[in-house]
C-alpha cells in the first residue's frame, strides 16, 4: 500500500530532521496519518506527476509541492487544482503487425513480430521493466504456456514454476506497454496502454481467456487473480 509507506517514511524522515513533501492522490491515508506535508493530486494511480512526457505539467506539480515548504506549521495538506480522470481519455493509436507465422498461435506470432519494436524502445530509453522473471527473448515461449491452458491443459502442467505466473504476466505487459509507447502516436494517456494490451493485442486477449478458464475451473484465486487488474473481465 504505497501511500501508507510514503506517509510513514515522511514521519521517519521529519523526525530525523529532513523536510518532506508527499505527493499522492490518497488524501484519506495522509489525513489519518497526520502526514507533515502532502500535495493532494487527483491523478490516476501510477502517475505521481500527472502526465508522462509533459515537462511543463510535471514542473508545475513540483512547484506546487515545493510551495508547501513555505508553511510554518503542519500537518499541511493542499490540493493541486488540476485533476486528471482515469477514464476520460483517447485510446492510443498503435497498430499491430499482420500474421507472419501461421504455424504458431496468433499471440506467439504477434510477440515475435513486435520484438524489433521492443528492442528499439529498450535502446532508446536505456531501460526496461521486463526482467521480473525472464528476459524479453522468452516472451513468446511464456505465451505458449498460456495457449496450453486455453487449449485445456492444467496450469500446473504447462511449465510454470510455483508463483511464477504473476511475474510472467508482468513481464509480458511491460514488453508490450514499452513497445506501445515507442510505436504510439500522440500522448500516452492514463490506462491507455493497459486497455490496448488487454482489449486489442492477441497476447492480452489470450491471458484474459486463460484467466477466465482458471476462474471457471475453480483454480485457487491467488493463481489467476493478478493476471489482470481487479475488476477486469
Amino acid at each position: 500500500m504505497c501511500p501508507r509507506t510514503l506517509c510513514t517514511l515522511a514521519h521517519v524522515f521529519e523526525a530525523a530532521g529532513l523536510c518532506t513533501i508527499v505527493i499522492t492522490p490518497m488524501r484519506e491515508v495522509a489525513e489519518r496519518m497526520k502526514t507533515p506535508r502532502m500535495l493532494h493530486t487527483v491523478f490516476p494511480l501510477g502517475l505521481s506527476l500527472g502526465k508522462p512526457r509533459d515537462r511543463e505539467f510535471q514542473a508545475d506539480v513540483l512547484r506546487a509541492a515545493f510551495e508547501l515548504l513555505d508553511e510554518a506549521t503542519g500537518p499541511v495538506i493542499r490540493k493541486y487544482p488540476v485533476t486528471i480522470s482515469p477514464t476520460d481519455h483517447q485510446p492510443i493509436s498503435c497498430s499491430l503487425p499482420p500474421r507472419v507465422n501461421t504455424d504458431v498461435h496468433p499471440a506467439v506470432d504477434e510477440a515475435q513480430s513486435l520484438k524489433k519494436a521492443y528492442d528499439r524502445a529498450h535502446q532508446k530509453n536505456g531501460r526496461t521493466s521486463v526482467g521480473m522473471i525472464m528476459s524479453a527473448d522468452k516472451i513468446p515461449e511464456a505465451l505458449e504456456r498460456f495457449v496450453k491452458i486455453v487449449e485445456g491443459e492444467h496450469w500446473e502442467e504447462v511449465g510454470f514454476a510455483p508463483r511464477s505466473m504473476y511475474p510472467t504476466v508482468q513481464d509480458i505487459r511491460s514488453y508490450y506497454e514499452e513497445l506501445a509507447c515507442e510505436l504510439a502516436e500522440g500522448p500516452i494517456e492514463p490506462w491507455a496502454t493497459e486497455e490496448w494490451f488487454y482489449d486489442q493485442t492477441e497476447a492480452g486477449k489470450l491471458i484474459l481467456t486463460a484467466r477466465r478458464i482458471m476462474r471457471d475451473n475453480k483454480v485457487e484465486q491467488s493463481v489467476w487473480f493478478g493476471l489482470a487488474p481487479a475488476g477486469r473481465e
Binding site: 501508507r4 510514503l6 521529519e14 492522490p25 505521481s48 500527472g50 508522462p52 491507455a192
Partner: protein
Amino acid sequence: MAVFGKDTEAVGKFAGSVPVPEFKETSFSSSKPLDQAKVAIVTTAALYREGGSGFELGDGDFHYETLPREARDLTLGHGSVNFDRGGFAADINVVYPIDRLYEFVEEGIIGSVAENHYSFAGNQSDTVSEIRLDSGPLCAKEMIEEEVDVVLLTGT
C-alpha cells in the same frame, strides 16, 4: 464491475479503510531556503537498476535501493496490476522526476540535486514497523550524511 484502479470512488473507500499506523505527533522540520537546499527523491515504486535483484513480491521486503542521480536504467519493481504502468513506460519522470530536478537547479528554484536517491517497495506489512524502525531511519541517516535538506516522496 469496474476496474478497481480506474474507479476513483472505490479507491477512495479503500484508502479510507486500510489500516494505518498511528503517529501521536507530527514532526515538522524547517529547511534552509529552497534555492539553497539539496533535494532527494524517495519513491515507493520499488525502482531498481536494470539487472539488479530488485524487490521480492509480497509485503516482506523492507530494504531500499540506492539510485545514483545519473542512473536512468531503472526498472519498475512495483508488481501491482492496479495502477497505470504505461506512464512510467513512457517517461520515468512521471514517477521519479529526476530530470525536472536538474531543470529546477538551472532555473535557480532549488539549490542542488542529491547525489543519491532512494527506492522502497510500497507494499509493506500493515504495521509498517520494519520501515518505521529499521530501513526508514537508516535511509534518513544516509541522506543526512549526504547533507540532503528536502525529500520529495512519490509513489505509484
